[in-house]
């Protein structure tokens, strides 16, 4: 899907609904709503193995220069796969309100 905020009139929809700009899926913020929980990583327990980054189905984790992984709120659906797969139980799913 093209940009979710681009509600074009029919004459302006690209021919045949083609996407003319490569890689624009990242503009589609899939994390603008999620289940009522979000992951929090305990850096004390984290061993920088990258399992969260590998398993995340929405590519919400990005590796930092120091080896830790940042969580990107724009794409997380709150599925909890990262917390389940973390071998050190360093990731907790907490309520959005917390």
């Amino acid at each position: 899907m093209a940009k979710v905020d681009a509600l074009h009139p029919w004459k302006e929809v690209p021919l045949g609904c083609a996407i003319l700009e490569p890689g624009n899926a990242r503009q589609f913020k899939t994390g603008d709503w999620r289940s009522k929980i979000r992951p929090v990583t305990d850096r004390e327990k984290c061993i920088k193995c990258g399992m969260c980054w590998i398993f995340c189905p929405d590519m919400s984790y990005n590796r930092r220069e120091d080896g830790y992984f940042d969580w990107n709120t724009d794409y997380c659906k709150g599925c909890g796969i990262c917390a389940r797969e973390c071998p050190k139980k360093a990731i907790q799913m907490i309520s959005e309100e917390e």
């Binding site: 899907m1 045949g16 609904c17 083609a18 490569p22």
Partner: protein, 386 residues
Amino acid sequence: MEVSIAVSEAVKLANVDVISAYPITPQTHIVEHLSELVADGELKAAYIPVESEHSALSAAVGAAAVGARAYTATTSQGLALMHEIMFIASSMRIPLVMTVVNRALSAPINIWNDLSDIMAQRDCGWVQLFAINGQEAVDLTLQAFKIAEDPRVLLPVVVNVDGFILSHVIEPMEIPDQETVDRFLPVFKPVIRLDPEQPVSMGILGGPDVYTEVKKQVEEALIGSQKVTAEVWKDFGNIFGRNYKPIESYKTKGAETLLVTMGSITETAMTAVDVLREKGQKVGLIHIRLWRPFPFTEFFQAIREAKVLAVVDRALSPGGVGGPVGLEIKSALFEQKERPYIAEFVAGLGGRDLPVEVFAEMVDKAGSYAQKQKKMRYEMIGVREK
């Protein structure tokens, strides 16, 4: 020359880049001859022998998406197997050309002619043309590429050629030379295409926020294609001297009853008109060459003096008000203040012969039903009751 061979010669003259097809009776002669032309080096094109019609149309869509001039042909069950790709081709705005050699849909298995195959694809968003003879099959094939590829259209076009009674007959035809065809049909210049240098994605997901707009685009392009088709026909007439109209009239002057036909039965029906005219009956005929988009204005113009229409449908819409042509005409006339009496006949299913006498019978019946203002949805001609 056999009409199937002539159609493949027209495809060759159109200088196609890709042919992807699966042989099926009665389309076989067209693609067989094309494969020979490619194998013999007479036509520089890629011939993709696919494993099904679903793949045949898919490969043609893919080829056209990269900017190739693509062609395929099929019939009946093969067309039914293409059904899902038919909609994809039009909504992706893929300009390709397909010949449908019209044949009845199973069951029972029947290889003979009627229009049930294409009528089941009525709403697929393609431009749909019907040839009444071999020359038209050739001409419409050449025109179809020009219509499809016009930047104002960019839709697939189907040319309908009746199975056997048109596809397998030998008729005298004028096959134009390459130079003249090149003058008529320019090189295909795609508006957008799959190109690694300028990446685009085609055939994407479109949610509730955009699907309606895409369908509106297809609808407007299809309606707009009629103007382009008229221009293409004007060009064609200027270059080749044969003129085409969306609705053709035959002896309609002073006619009270008009036969309404499509495809190859038209010439038999014309003979019936001649016979009945000689007997003093006020009978004429119109035939619908452009079925989609339906040419409403030209249709109203063509029937304006008629009191009775005898509509011949060669497909059935089971459980509805009649066959697809009758349904179209009745609904088109619904808002007209004055409209002729419409007698609809479903005839010629699965290759049932339609000789001159049957058209005379339909004209007679239409006249007497009109006199009685008989309430009818449709009548099935020639069905055995006992």
